[in-house]
Symmetry: C2
Subunit: 601 residues, 2 copies
């Protein structure tokens, strides 16, 4: 005997006249004309239960139930009376006349209404078990599952094999900060939780597994931002004997399929492909939000000889850049909004935000409204108008500084304006899915502080064919076989063709100022593996949390993770992390190192 | 242009006359009659490449290649000459006449031959990347993948949802030892890596997810035995609103399907079901190896009044037990083998191993050969022969001690004899798959040292209907709704119906001597969740590593894990764990606690 014959939310008119058993939670209970109606909820949805006073026991039990009681009901499926049909529900044409009502478990009064949309995150995470009962969270986690299952089916069809890599692995203090795990057996030594299975998946290619994937937890002990968690999930993939193009095509198809099957959305086919240099030139970002219909106009050359020192100074600076951002219709923007944007770009290090309103081009200089026009000579003004394509009624914002500051500030401004009420009204934002590939990343970026080159992607990325010599002669010129998939301003995933020859790998380590001894100590097992006929290989990793967040239209990745941590890396539900016994520390050969005097609060 | 047109191992006569491109590793190279033959290997198998001296460049390259070089070959598929067909290979009817041969990556000489079956585990784990190229390891990991994919498909079809639970969670120092992770942000506090997602999966049931599963890494910092790893993988499942029987049926079907689809093996349908008490009585084990055709005969009553103190003492002892193990045909066992078994049972605490050889029953006492017969009266001897069903030529071993010692020792002896050369010849072992369910476990076992009751399964297991009162009156009598799936003497998985009412959970904590305050501190979030209409729920977890080890016929779970740890919990490939920087420790608010004087070795 089963407790239930089907789900509440799937009880439909197909079962009319049948006796069913249902299990679920009291979503709402109301008395109406001497009859008690219960909306009974399970994961598939609601069904209306009718408790008639004729059924004495049922009615008595029904009077006692409250919201979130867990019930088992047996009853007859019958049509709802004319006029009470609810087309928003699967079960909206029927109701169940209860013949038995068993309270499987009562509930104390919940700390909040499940349909309250204004709960603080602290409340939600503290009472996560109830929060997860909310339809939105149910949908988010089911969507997450659907995404992973679509990924698995797709990769299975292509011969990818899910292979588990270790969680207790070696600390390599480069990149982000590791989570460490003290070893009990090997005193004074530590495991690290993996930041990614990067090296293991490469080793699996050397081991002839040919196609690997894993949907796997990764860990970074970094200060948390809105879209970061200490533990996050990657769809991690690697293949042998495929070109960059073949890998991109394969995973572009995968993402298209996932969006289609899990969300019913058709993404463009093919995705546009954009070079990194192009993306930086036009959008100041390697993950441009292509929904925003504005582009940079590079004015560095134009500004070299203007009187306005902010512009000419930046234009003549090493690594300096001057750009204009034409905002069509922006002339209508009130001063207060421009002021707000000036404060906004300051976050990114911009020391001001010059602009020109184009009132009437035909009037030349007099048709332009701006505090800076007087410091720009006619030729410059002409070129600005020409090159930005500005029309009457437009506004042009300017960025002038080190290229990094300009790109960050004006890139963010572009997105901000695009997403603003103004931007949406002015047609500067297209509310759709705009994926693209960004390719041809530089191998290295120069760290001005240390004077050293850092890997843009990671030190195992292969240089483009013909660029190998730059590793020694001019690292800044060296382009990598790296690629990122970008959607609406978010990096969904990224990867590269890897170095499969030990000598090239050594050259890259040298370019990164990692000496032979250090390389051997940290990456000896990789260098060793590359010597045994390592195949050409490459792959990529997608951020599952981000993909699902975007697909669900959620505000935070915490809304697509069952039990997330707060921004202070705490679990409010279980109170982790917590203090542990001295005995446990002793066994692990560690002791606490706390400030000697602790102030009692 | 793709590097290859298909896999080496899948190049068959269907492609005769076509030009193919193949990538793979030199498995063997031999010169024969002025022609060079290369067996090229990829993950799908071997194909024979023919390098003819007519193709000058190809031949020159082929002369230079050595084992494990990674090659790309383009050539013509042609029939092998009469008499050289190899029916052991998929590609055995054809060969590829090379027209191009590119060395993608050379290889230094491997430290061992891939087909050497006598490598030490240290060698294999140190050179794991090459070890994984061996066909056996390739097969094992592909089988592992196939098992997980079959599980996922089956559970998906039943509406189970894969939901990820945290890896950084709360330490609850009960059960096994936790792996701890120091928190940087919350100084002096620690996360624990999960020993299982037990509580989270129960919370997900309270959250109305209805059916959950996860194939998930779990962690136990225990001293390692042959079948243990610091990190291991569970197929973890939980459902709401199902009975014990329904859950068992559901997962029995799953395992049958997995064996059928991944291994082509038909397991019995249905699995036999055995009560725990019955299993202990007949086999001295809660995971009896049913391939072994021998059972215990309980002789406790029979031995109460014999002169032989070893027997009568045990028979009259509290928790004492005397059993006989009849070994059909065991009379032929040489003394040396009996002596070896005596040493063997000593491992399990047995202080001796009495036996009787039944030479000729008809002769009564004189037909029995044994040092102990003189101390057993006639009635006892008659009952021994009667109750064991011993025949002429049999041997009966005896165990007499505390029940635990008898069960462990004679239970192990039963398996040992069954698996021995003797046992196989004597028909005491059936080489097949013999799964069963063991059910009706006790809720608690008594710890004689502490005088306390411990949970047999875990503290969240529900007592059998009608046994709730025993929680307070007689914990030893309380039977749990717990079940284990056993196969050939290994526990494949186990689970239980969980407690879904807060008051019952509190009673169990009390029975376990966990006070209200301690329960609140450690499990407050569970007790809290149970108050909000927690549904009846239950589930189970399978040990993936073990299942695959059995299916693969592997000797150790390390043979079905890509990158396992040694018994000293080390990774010989990457040298994890390792020492870390002082800076890292400082950030984590810990310091080392090492013996002050370290002896330099």
């Amino acid at each position: 005997m089963s407790m239930r014959t089907q789900y509440c939310g799937l009880t439909t008119e197909a079962l009319l006249g049948q006796t069913v058993s249902l299990c679920g939670w009291v979503h709402r209970r109301r008395d109406h004309g001497g009859v008690i109606f219960i909306d009974l909820r399970d994961r598939e949805g609601l069904v209306q239960i009718v408790c008639d006073p004729d059924q004495v026991d049922v009615f008595k039990n029904a009077e006692a139930v409250r919201n979130e009681f867990c019930l088992r009901i047996t009853g007859l499926v019958r049509s709802r009376p004319e006029g009470t049909i609810n087309n928003n529900l699967n079960s909206g044409k029927i109701e169940v006349l209860a013949q038995e009502l068993e309270v499987l478990n009562p509930s104390v009064t919940p700390p909040f209404q499940l349909d309250d949309d204004n709960l603080s995150e602290t409340t939600r995470l503290t009472h996560r078990v109830l929060d997860l009962r909310r339809p939105q969270m149910q949908n988010n986690l089911r969507l997450r599952y659907k995404v992973t299952m679509e990924v698995r089916k797709y990769l299975d069809g292509l011969g990818f094999i899910d292979i588990e890599t270790p969680m207790l692995t070696k600390s390599t203090p480069e990149g982000a900060r590791d989570y460490l795990v003290p070893s009990r057996v090997n005193s004074g030594q530590f495991f690290a939780l993996p930041q990614s299975p990067q090296l293991f998946k490469q080793l699996l290619m050397v081991s002839n597994f040919d196609r690997y994937y894993q949907i796997v937890k990764c860990f970074r002990d970094e200060d948390l931002r809105a879209d970061r968690q200490p533990e996050f999930t990657q769809i991690d993939c690697e293949t042998s004997f495929l070109s960059e193009q073949e890998i991109r095509d394969m995973f572009e198809d995968m993402i298209r399929l996932v969006f289609k099957n899990a969300l019913g959305v058709d993404l463009p086919n093919p995705f546009p492909v954009m070079e990194y240099a192009h993306a930086m030139a036009l959008y100041g970002s390697d993950k441009p939000d292509m929904r925003v219909k504005m582009e940079f106009t590079d004015l560095t050359e134009v500004m070299k000889d203007v009187d306005f020192k902010v512009f000419s100074g930046a234009a003549n600076m090493e690594n300096g850049r001057v750009v204009g951002l034409r905002v069509p219709g922006g002339g209508a923007m009130p001063r207060s909004e421009i002021d707000a944007y000036t404060q906004f770009v300051a976050i990114y290090g911009a020391r001001g935000l010059a602009y020109i309103k184009v009132n009437e081009k035909a009037q030349g200089r007099d048709g332009l409204q701006s505090p800076i026009v007087k410091n720009l000579h006619d030729a410059a003004l002409t070129k600005i108008l020409e090159q930005t394509g500005a029309q009457d009624g437009d506004l042009i914002f300017f960025g002038a500084d080190k290229a990094k500051v300009v790109n960050d500030a004006i890139g963010a401004l572009r997105v901000k304006i695009g997403h603003s009420e103004f931007g949406k009204k002015a047609g500067l934002f297209e509310d759709t899915w705009r994926p693209l590939w960004v390719i041809d990343f530089p191998m290295f970026e120069h760290d001005e502080e240390s004077g050293r080159w850092n890997a843009c992607h990671h030190p195992f990325t292969a240089p483009k064919d013909g660029h190998e010599d730059y590793l020694e002669t001019d690292p800044g010129k060296c382009i990598a076989k790296a690629y990122d998939m970008v959607l609406n301003g978010w990096e969904l995933g990224g990867g590269s063709i890897r170095i499969h020859k030990a000598d090239v790998q050594s050259k890259v380590f040298r370019a990164l100022n990692i000496g032979a001894e250090e390389a051997q100590l940290k990456f000896g097992f990789l260098l060793d593996a590359l010597q045994y006929g390592a195949p050409p290989h490459g792959g990529l990793a997608f951020g599952l949390d981000r993909i699902v967040t975007m697909m669900a239209g959620a505000e935070s990745i915490r809304d697509v993770i069952a039990f997330p941590k707060t921004q202070r890396a705490q679990c409010l539900l279980t109170q982790a992390p917590s203090e542990v016994d001295e005995k446990q520390l002793k066994e692990l050969h560690i002791r606490l190192r706390l400030p000697e005097a602790k102030v009692v609060s």
